[in-house]
Chain length 123, copies 2
Amino acid sequence: MNYSRQRESIKEYLMSTQEHPTADVIYQHVKENYPKISLGTVYRNLTLLVDLGEVRKISTGDGTEHYDADTSAHSHYYCRCCHRVMDLEVTPSVDQILSASSAGLGTVEMASLLFTGVCKDCI
Amino acid sequence: MNYSRQRESIKEYLMSTQEHPTADVIYQHVKENYPKISLGTVYRNLTLLVDLGEVRKISTGDGTEHYDADTSAHSHYYCRCCHRVMDLEVTPSVDQILSASSAGLGTVEMASLLFTGVCKDCI
DNA sequence: TAGTAAAATAGTAATCATTACTGATTTATC
DNA sequence: GATAAATCAGTAATGATTACTATTTTACTA
């Protein structure tokens, strides 16, 4: 895999923000430094970064995926009102992961915990 | 809200299956009893049932949503290979939910735990 | 049991996120 | 600097989901 300025910029932006932006939001931001970048490039590199394990994809069911460069074990809180995703320090417990692993369904590569509700700004 | 045969049939099919079908799979099955049903009707009723809390929507990030009429507390295992969703008895712990509630982000209406990997049929 | 208004439907068109394609540009190597 | 592979920008295509509209069904009442 070759180096690419665009990919670097996408990752930098993701690491700099506490939000959990969608591909389009990432595109808007990276465009400030690379005005000619195309949305397809953003998608392609996000997929790459997710496959490399450097970025996490968060599926909330709101119609678009969210991305997070913080790959440490943590959970997310999703507001069904403003569609924002926030970090939570809660993590899937070792017991839960072990239990999922020993259920015999297959390998467990990722455990993801998502809480949904209405955030305090939206109440 | 009025009764509708189509909505009833969608719910019946969902309750009868152990799979976690997508809207299109539901459509294909319900069509056996209601050949004239339209995909839009399936989507509209799924949204309704989810809002009523009678059906759960499962977002795996595979490009389409999955649905589950079992609304009891349980988790899911997702095979990134065959894209099937399977049930797991593991549940978010009381501690995790309490911890999420007390984090002060907002209300917690739903806690969802998803394990991803490669199922034994795909290994 | 027919008459009526609200709710739901089938069918189709539109939207929007994401992916695929292509010819031009950039990166790594020699 | 020359070359091949990787990546890109731009655009077209795909596919899931939603919106729209004229028709049918449901619930209610005379």
